[in-house]
Amino acid sequence: MIAVFFQQALNGIILGSLYMLVALGLFLIFGILEVTNFAHGEFYMLGAFATLFVMTGLGAPFLPAVVLAMLCMAAFGIVVERVVFRPIVGKPLINGMLLSFGLSTFLTNAALLLFTADPRKIESEFAQVHLRFLGLHVTLERLLALAVGTALVGFLAHFIQHTKTGKAMRAVAQDRIAAQMAGIPVFRIYAVTFAIGSMLASAAGSMVGAIFLVSPDMGWTVVLKAFIVVILGGMGNIRGIVCASLCVGLVESLGGGFVSYAYKDAYPFLLLVLAFLLRPEGLVGGRKA
């Protein structure tokens, strides 16, 4: 029983680190452009497909393929920001929401046409390596997901805190007009934000594609959970997002293992309700980035 508990907890942490990567992108885009990007899950899906095609097409090993896919998705993110989202910056929130629904519908169905609905698996060379320690059982692939997640969030935290671009991003998140007056190229910051968000989503998608499966409709459930993470994280800072994503991953995994697997998609909502009851003012109170 104890062993099963720890096994589920480990799986939950790995799951949480994947939600974290998607949620960080959403959080940055939300904080800086004030847009809820419901199409973010499609970036994650496209990132997974990009890794798959780089591996099957060029015969590249898994990790270089993931990096290449992240670069492709960064370019894609910049294009999407310029073409789709820039016209509606500063408009009412419902516009951005519906725009991203449109984008999400478009990307999902275009992927469905181009890539077909068959679920596929990214065959990474780490899948066959099984590790056992303290009675826990884990594939190297899953540990790799955890490691990549940790490394990326470390990079991101350093980037936001200490580089000039990162500081400019925080300034734009605090006050766009004041940042513009201080000479920060706001539109370039938007592009950087989208590039980073798409890269993180792409990395998460590639990991999920290796552990589970890749299919055109994989984005939608993830994006909602990532939003829950962003809300639970309190819109405050990266640390909040990390804690909240681990919570959501653990609750989903432990709940799915010990309570009822069928209801596992519902548990994050219960977490949210609990948070409302305990901290009715705190969720919205925190300021962004």
Binding site: L99, T105, F106, S260, A262, A266, P268, F269
Partner: protein
Amino acid sequence: MNRAGRWIAALCTAAGLLCVPALFSLDYYLHIFVMAGIHAMLAISLGLIIGFTGQVSLCHAAFYGIGAYGSALASLTLGLPFWLAMWAGGLSAGVLSYTLGRLVLRLRGHFLAITTAFFGVLVTVVLNNWVSVTKGPMGIPGIPRPGLPVFLGSWTTFESRVSYYYLVVAFVAGIAYLAYRIVGSRLGRALIAIRENEELAQSLGIETMRYKVFAFTLGGGLAGVAGAFYAHYILFISPVTFTIGESINILVMVVFGGMTTLAGPIIGAAILTILPELLRMAGALRLVIYGLTLMAFIVWMPQGIVGAVRELTTRTRTGKPGG
């Protein structure tokens, strides 16, 4: 428009709607019109929440589904006729939306939208897994048609599409009239005040939370009535109809028509029910085109059809280039 003009417009619309079955007698067309009517009920009720009170809700299909299941179960297990089961559907949706509203309406903007979206997912999960009551993904078949009480308690049921068409027109008219009376009243002005500036409204003595919960409950309850109508029209319900995709669909109808108006949601529902049928010939490309159209529409015409028409008429009347 003056009072007489309004009456004439209303009478012309009514006459036009009553003539529709004579012009389009095919069952296929009538089915689309009935579905447009159901969507119009949903869009009007969501319009009360989103357009007039300014609270973005992404779980309208959940209340639609709860109404459908509530009504279907009431008529199948308790043997209630449609006219009573409908209330069971509407009330169960209303009670749930009241509970949810009390819990989440203190959130604003994006937070409210995402939380309600997740509530919609929760309802879908429950409908799929609570097999002993909802029969899960198999759905509930064999829901009885509505009956009309005729003399001496003998019941005739709605057999033809034409009769359903007239029934849906009556329902939409009733709900639209209710919304019209609310919007024109003190209550409606309080809701609009909350939409425009919640802090200011509160400082003027409007109990914003109570009014927001009221709008949310009424909208949810009316969506439940629409769900009951759907259940007793299609005669089969399953969870796939009431997903978050449908919530977004209803939201798009409201915004497409013009969310701060009463006519907007109805027009949006009619157009966005009929247009996808025309797109059927595009096959697999249909949803790709739909996504592109939605994006283009949000970028170029964010105020909706009714809003754009209004802007155009004021521009020609005043001779000024509008903003």
